[in-house]
């Protein structure tokens, strides 16, 4: 199996970084009150983005008259809500 030489896993950091959701994807985030500042423009886009994508998926349910898109949509919304640490 091919091994890469790039810096890879950043999981399991020191205790002072505890509170972050995960670290292999990104620097993550800290617990309440210790969150890194997020620019307001980014906040606004994130707010609308997290609303829109799952809501659009669920809106498909109205078109196809099925509950499947709703199921996918609520799963997607929950998954995306944990994606802030890109």
């Amino acid at each position: 199996m091919r091994q890469r030489t790039d810096p890879v896993p950043l999981t399991g950091e020191s205790p002072e970084r505890a509170g972050r959701e995960d670290s292999a994807l990104s620097p993550g985030r800290r617990s309440r009150g210790d969150r890194p500042p997020v620019p307001s423009r980014v906040r606004a886009r994130g707010t609308y983005g997290i609303w829109l994508l799952p809501a659009l998926v669920m809106a498909l349910a109205a078109v196809v008259h099925g509950l499947g898109p709703i199921a996918v949509g609520i799963g997607l919304a929950a998954g995306l809500s944990l994606s802030g640490s890109v």
Partner: protein, 188 residues
């Protein structure tokens, strides 16, 4: 990081992301299947009772996470980071294991309200097995989205990345919780 920044994506990176996505969906499938099995215990509840329980639970979760009960009531979560040992055999296999643990939603921190509401909805709503599996697909997809976005050239993915970064904001997380609650109510 699983995918380093600032260079052109290669086929190997796609394998890593594919493995992560497969792991996330598999982990989510495990959790949703377990919740689906538990949902059998709420069969005697009427639809009205399900709606009341779901809304009450969602309100409590929000209050404990971002509302007036924050800091006083702690919701169950695994307060640990996924150990780097999962990557030891190979990066692709490690990405799958890492995705699997992330996909379960129970192996690391859960900073958002929505996964809790989703779990309650799965148990209370009593979805069909097919719907539960579709929830797992959606959750795994959402979990893997940040990594999938990285496969795209930086200039085209900037807006999407900003969307995702904004998810840390409390309003966005509350909104996601409301979307899950609304979808759950539609499934009742």
């Amino acid at each position: 990081m699983l995918l380093p920044l600032g260079r052109r994506r290669r086929r190997f990176d796609r394998r890593v992301v594919g493995a992560y996505l497969a792991g996330a969906v598999a982990g989510a499938t495990l959790t949703t299947s377990f919740a689906w099995l538990l949902s059998g215990f709420v069969q005697p509840l009427t639809d009205t009772a399900r709606i009341v329980v779901l809304c009450t639970a969602a309100l409590f979760v929000w209050a404990a996470k971002d509302g007036p009960l924050a800091g006083r009531v702690s919701l169950p979560e695994s307060r640990r980071q996924i150990p780097s040992a999962v990557f030891t055999p190979s990066l692709v296999r490690g990405a799958y294991r890492f995705g699997f643990e992330m996909g379960t939603g129970m192996r690391t921190y859960v900073p958002s309200v929505a996964p809790y509401v989703l779990l309650v909805a799965l148990i209370v709503v009593r979805p069909t097995l097919g719907q539960a599996l579709l929830v797992a697909v959606g959750f795994g997809l959402g979990r893997a989205t940040p990594l999938m976005v990285r496969l795209r050239p930086e200039d085209r993915s900037l807006i999407i990345r900003e969307f995702l970064q904004g998810a840390v904001h409390r309003r966005a997380q509350t909104a996601a919780g409301l979307v899950v609650l609304g979808g759950g109510l539609l499934l009742v």
